[in-house]
């Protein structure tokens, strides 16, 4: 059986960078656009890297900044200063 993790963001300016960063680091992830929101799902694992985000934004980025724009998640969370990972192990 397929075991998908997912994350949903508000469809706003911050989130667009986040989506770009996620697509770069998770090329197999599927991005779904729905009214006012963007939902991204992937098999088993999805990662957001601080480094990629900082490259996209051109400034320092704290991983916890994502708390402002996230709507929902599915999967076990592993967060530290450098990344935010969702996974089913």
């Amino acid at each position: 059986m397929s075991q998908l993790v997912f994350i949903a963001f508000q469809d706003n300016d911050n989130a667009r960078y986040m989506v770009e960063a996620i697509q770069e680091d998770n090329p197999e992830a599927e991005v779904q656009h729905q009214p006012a929101m963007i939902r991204i799902q992937a098999e088993k694992r999805l990662v957001i890297n601080r480094e990629t985000m900082e490259e996209k934004l051109g400034r320092d980025w704290d991983v916890q900044e994502m708390l402002i724009d996230v709507i929902s998640i599915g999967g076990n969370v592993d967060e530290d200063d450098d990344h935010f990972i969702l996974e089913w192990k």
């Binding site: 397929s2 075991q3 929101m37 996230v70 929902s72 967060e79």
Partner: protein, 511 residues
Amino acid sequence: MAVKNKKLNLKDKYQYLTRDMAWEPSYQKKEDIFPDEQFEGIKITDWSQWEDPFRLTMDAYWKYQAEKEKKLYAIFDAFAQNNGHQNISDARYVNALKLFLTGVSPLEHAAFQGYAKVGRQFSGAGARVACQMQAIDELRHSQTQQHAMSHYNKHFNGLHDAAYMHDRVWFLSVPKSFFDDARSAGPFEFLTAISFSFEYVLTNLLFVPFMSGAAYNGDMATVTFGFSAQSDEARHMTLGLEVIKFILEQHEDNVPIVQRWIDKWFWRGFRLLSLVSMMMDYMLPNKVMSWAEAWEVYYEQNGGALFKDLERYGIRPPKYQDVANDAKHHLSHQLWTTFYQYSQATNFHTWIPEKEEMDWMSEKYPETFDKYYRPRYEYLAKEAAAGRRFYNNTLPQLCQVCQVPTLFTEMGAPTKLSHRQLVHEGERYHFCSEACCDIFKDEPEKYVQAWLPVHQIYQGNCEGADVETVVQKYYHINIGEDNFEYIGSPDHKHWLSIKGQKPADQSKDAA
């Protein structure tokens, strides 16, 4: 970058907050300080294993919450200043908000009380901190929802007395009793009920596709509070999953207890969300996703992945999930025709879906809509056109556990009610389903006290014996304004005047 290195990293900060600031009691016994921690039979051997994966500390919490609030209230102001209510898709949509404000917002407040209470009950500091943050979040949700809807209250009926109605109105006993059940349980059951079963497994169905639908219907204020609340919810969900894993990892004796709670609270939550099914399919004039589709994504797919992950602890999917999965083809239609016939006693309006909407439902429910439900609306439309808009003038039987009228049908037999009954200590009790009957059998002492609105009316405890007196005096529903059919209602006329159209033919409008 030298400054950056001086900062504590996330893990250290979280460690300081949740471990180093707590202390071992020296002159009082732990059991006396935390007297509710044992009686449910949950065994915790090592609280230090508790982990909040977000590792949120108070400084970061206030910082990000303040930022969310600023964004949210800027949008509320803009919405009010620009008369945002005039730009929604159709005023029928506002009826979903009336149900939300009376049915959901008071639950946010109940959740605040619940987390504030259980936050005092755990001897582990990490759990106490998590519950405290969540209590504050829930209070924020209750308040922001009321603020968002106060603008609608200036322009539409039925939004004037939500908290009062929540404690009295017949269908609102469904959400109210759900949370009362959870809050009167022990602290571990409360977390399993609300953090795990409700927040993690089920609330996506309300806050994600429904809120996306609010945006699609032009309601900026609601989508904004919805998503703002949901951004806290992402934390709560993570906590819900961690709570379950923590309890299961602590002791194998916890597994059967937790399994029984998951079975119970999945079902209680599923019954509660039947209200959301009709909000999605019937109360959003512009439709994003059907209830069945939302159920497939957020329960069958995401819930499936979750329960597969929990297999390693010996946890299986909730006992009656096959019934819930089958019900996705019927639920919203059965609920809407129920509210349609009891609109004389609701603070919101109901209506017959328009032709395009019914065609959408035929497409979304190919196995069931044309066969079972379209004929209902064709009949009801014919009756309404002949001046006989249907209202059921007799009160319905309610389920002793979920308190929903016993309207649900058997799996695989959608015209046969799934009614159950039993006798307990000489009293008869009636249920909407095998699952609710099971819940009663586990804890009969709890549910024999159920305050069932229909029975309370018949006992004479609701200020009158006839529906009109109960509705007006006891419920504070303004007759002829808040209740009855949408077509021809004051809200409908007001909307037509906003849109510069004449009211529809009055002869068809008689309620």
